[in-house]
Symmetry: C2
Subunit: 316 residues, 2 copies
């Protein structure tokens, strides 16, 4: 199938090297007569989430959830209102939260919003937030802001036998609330940052209580480590957008005995979205991976040039 | 489908309550008109491995691998021969290995055989061992000794839309070498004990080096914790054989809003296999889970009574 047939699998992608690169790779590895043929069991695609499948500005969406949770709880929990780090979060003083070598402020906010409740209670809090919260720039629910071209890529690779996995710095428990509905990716194909829960058999039944113990931050070199731990084999497609994805791009593509494909979403579109790489307002610094891309043959997607649509129109 | 039709899905199971219990559960949850109907996405089955899908005597097979590795390496590595814990392992002195609160001897043997190499090197060592090693009682390669009735159960549940996951105290890296070939379960559906690898980009490409850092032992309360971390939803079928599986049996079946099924393999067959529960020669103590089974409605499989075949005949 090529981009010129009636059923274009990537209609939100403009004609050009990015779209052609994707189509050519998939054609090559799914052709049983090609020496590059990938057996279905080796069609493993990994995707970063923040900045790759949805935006990470003005703050990563999970941080917006944490701040909104504090805001919601402050009226009923006066102790929270006295907490200097809660005050910093509510005032948008992120510099204060990020002070110190161990990011104590940020961890404190995480502890308040991501620990001490059961996994079911946390699930319900995220689900409720997704219903009520609106992105400050787009005025839409956060989960309506996934990139349409990347949604097309997920579906296109899925239709060609690839098993899609999220491999993100975001919390696994946070993402699993909505990824199946929004991306069609089941919870067991979500690799994220995690901490260990505690199992308890209560009168009401078994519960798992969230803690921050054994916190694992799924970023940088942690990504290939987690891919090995959770998936157990090397991916053949890797999509990212920042230096935090560099190690998993390397792990996927360098000296892989299988054909492989690396893709970097470059945020070049200040008008429709945000323009950043070396300098960011939030997360997503992109310098080393961009430098390395030409040598490694990674496809750099220029958001402004390569995507004709960013978000699907709201149903409303 | 019932057990009396021509195509019996469980031919190695004798007629009786165990076989009927399995068939009745599957019929009930796959019938769209039944109030117990399970949507396919909720058909998650978890299986312990040692003692549930293959034996754990005279020692867990992964321990046999570790001892054989030491034996193989001693001639070329004189320092190993001087090591008192290696000597204990080679002499079969397991009591010495298990001395001390922190099981230092066992961890030392683990460190020698399961760390310090790349994941590919470890994979190759396990694959080579499976080819050469023979079980001391049955004289067959270890991976030919999976229980035929449980293989039938895996296939039967798989054919009825269940996604099968191994959730075992065994090492994930050890199991992933052979589970896809032997059980048809891909590496990403194997949840086991893990330690963190280290990512390194060498001249030859990226490697992951095995360490014992952040060791997670996937047993007891660790099992529901790992199920949440790796799978992200509650199972609806759980098969185990020991008190190490009690917590995941509870997590699967107690107050689960979905219909659920718990199964315990009781080793009652000293003639064909091994007979043990409260007293074991190796791992697999079964007391608390057996006590709790009637109250919880877990099916206790009596190996001697319920299984007419233990192992498939060797092709050789």
């Amino acid at each position: 199938m090529t981009a010129t047939t009636a059923a274009d699998p990537l209609p939100s992608w403009n004609e050009g090297p990015a779209k052609q690169g994707i189509l050519a790779f998939v054609a090559r590895v799914t052709d049983e007569k090609s020496p590059a043929f990938l057996p279905p069991s080796e069609r493993i695609a990994v995707y970063d989430n923040d900045g790759t499948l949805w935006p990470e500005n003005p703050v990563p969406f999970q941080a917006a959830f944490a701040f909104d949770e504090l805001k919601r709880r402050v009226p009923a929990e006066p102790a929270l209102a006295e907490d200097p780090m809660v005050q910093a979060a509510l005032a948008g003083d992120f510099a204060k939260l990020l002070q110190g070598e161990h990011l104590d402020g940020l961890l404190h906010v995480l502890a308040l919003t991501h620990a001490g409740m059961t996994v079911d209670e946390f699930h319900d809090a995220v689900a409720a937030w997704l219903t009520s919260a609106r992105h400050p720039r787009y005025g839409r629910p956060y989960d309506e802001l996934t990139y349409t071209p990347m949604q097309e890529l997920l579906r296109y690779l899925g239709a060609n036998g690839f098993k899609n996995f999220i491999v993100s710095g975001g919390g696994a428990d946070f993402m699993r609330v909505w990824v199946e509905r929004v991306y069609g990716i089941p919870p067991e194909q979500v690799v994220g940052s995690t901490a260990r829960t505690t199992f308890k058999l209560c009168d009401s039944g078994p519960v798992l209580i969230k803690t921050l113990g054994h916190l694992f931050v799924n970023d940088n070199e942690g990504k290939p480590v987690a891919i090995h731990q959770f998936i157990g084999r090397r991916p053949t497609v890797c999509c990212g957008n920042s230096d935090g994805d560099l190690a998993m791009l390397q792990y996927t593509t360098i000296n892989n005995p299988r054909p492989s494909f690396g893709l970097i979403v470059h945020h070049t579109d200040g008008q429709r979205e945000y323009a950043y790489d070396a300098k960011t307002k939030s997360t997503g610094k992109l310098v080393a991976a961009l430098d390395e891309a030409p040598t490694r043959g990674w496809l750099v997607v220029d958001m402004q040039r390569d995507w004709n649509t960013l978000f699907t129109q709201s149903a409303a």
